[in-house]
Assembly symmetry: C2
Homo-oligomer: 248 residues x 2
């Protein structure tokens, strides 16, 4: 028997509001466009085997001492013990293919852990937008798009990405929303989509990255459908699947 | 000596994020378009002397027992002991002129109390938009537009109102913003402003009010510049001033 009831779609604009949106049956998509979830999607597209997300510098350091390849920055500066920083450009096939790597990110890891009670935790970005939408539409559970934001503050680029995804989901006819954050994110996406690269320059995070010379990835991170892989969180690690369920 | 440094402008989208925006030197504008701050502006426009905002039903009841006129609802239903509910249409000159009344609102009162450490706490809505902008521009302190939201969730109508105000403040040339919530609220206002009444129908709060027959105030609450009075909070009560500082 087909379930004809429409599924709940919500957008959470900050980890500080997450508990208002949390449901155990949610499929949660964590979105941190600049740069955690874009980098994770890039790493899988370039053949990484698995990623261990860690929140603290101490965890990252102890993983390095245990022999892992570690990507780790704090406030835009690569930590002395790390192999490289958090830019998606660091996750080249040469560096990550076939490997298990450790990725240290305060915000992204925190959101993944916060959502880990949910049915599924998926990693979203512009880079895997269509694959993610197709996957979510094919499931049978409510969806929460969870913007990682910046230190709990609203983040423009994450919200625009959530809007792009929300628009695709609502167009499928399988979802319903009475969430103002869905409405706002779709409206912001409607303003951004014709020239996403120009619009993205308005984001405060662009300035933060630029002040450290790290904004070279802006255009790359706003590229739609670079990969069809959908990273997901399970038992402390990130793996990736395609819509069909197998890894590329 | 004139202070030529631009002042900080931020928008806080939910009480859950307030602590990230809080500064003692802020001029804070609490915005709860549907309906608390619209009703407060209406009450002062209709000659109320002062308003005592209370958060709990118990406080409202004890004020009623002490002889006050009390406006109080919970979930859209007028409390049995109250004189009337929270719609701006209840605050007629006949009922409020020259009086001290008690207004019970969970969200609005909570936001006012949260912000009470600040330099000033002002009450904002579409109804006093231009007067408020003019007042804020004439001061010499950073400004935080504080959306009361709905149970900590993002609220479309409060954000659009914050955007309208933010646009006026930035146009003055006296403010600077690196806050994504300012950018987003102005962009949402830009989509809404040509037909504010139609746009406001998208707000989830419209549906919540309509389900209780309380959405008759939608158009009124989206009326720009109904009054030039600026309610403000001081020592537990709300009073109002005009730009010049005197009460109408």
């Amino acid at each position: 028997m087909m379930n004809t009831e429409k599924r709940r779609l919500e957008v959470c604009l900050s980890p500080a509001i997450y508990d208002k949106h949390a449901h155990d049956d949610n499929l949660v998509v964590v979105i941190d466009v600049l740069r955690a979830t874009s980098s994770i999607c890039t790493a899988f597209a370039n053949g990484v085997e698995r990623i261990i997300p860690v929140a603290t510098v101490e965890e990252a350091r102890s993983k390095k001492e245990a022999g892992y390849t570690v990507a780790s920055e704090r406030d835009g500066y690569v930590l002395d013990f790390a192999d490289f920083g958090n830019s998606p450009f660091n996750f080249t096939a040469e560096k990550v293919k076939g490997k298990e790597i450790v990725y240290s990110t305060t915000n992204g890891t925190r959101c993944i852990h916060m959502a880990s009670h949910s049915r599924e935790v998926l990693i979203g970005s512009f880079l895997n937008l269509s694959a993610l939408a197709e996957y979510l539409i094919a499931q049978d559970a409510p969806v929460l798009l969870f913007c990682a934001s910046w230190k709990d503050r609203f983040s423009l680029e994450d919200t625009v990405c959530a809007g792009a995804l929300a628009e695709l989901l609502l167009k499928s006819g399988k979802f319903d929303s009475i969430c103002d954050a869905v409405t706002a994110s779709i409206d912001l996406w409607s303003l951004a989509k014709d020239d996403l690269n120009s619009y993205s320059l308005k984001a405060a995070q662009k300035g933060r990255l630029a002040s450290k010379g790290l904004d070279d990835c802006m255009e790359f991170c706003h590229q739609i459908d670079f990969t069809n892989l959908i990273p997901y969180y399970t038992d402390g690690i990130l793996l990736a699947k395609t819509i069909g369920g197998s890894k590329n």
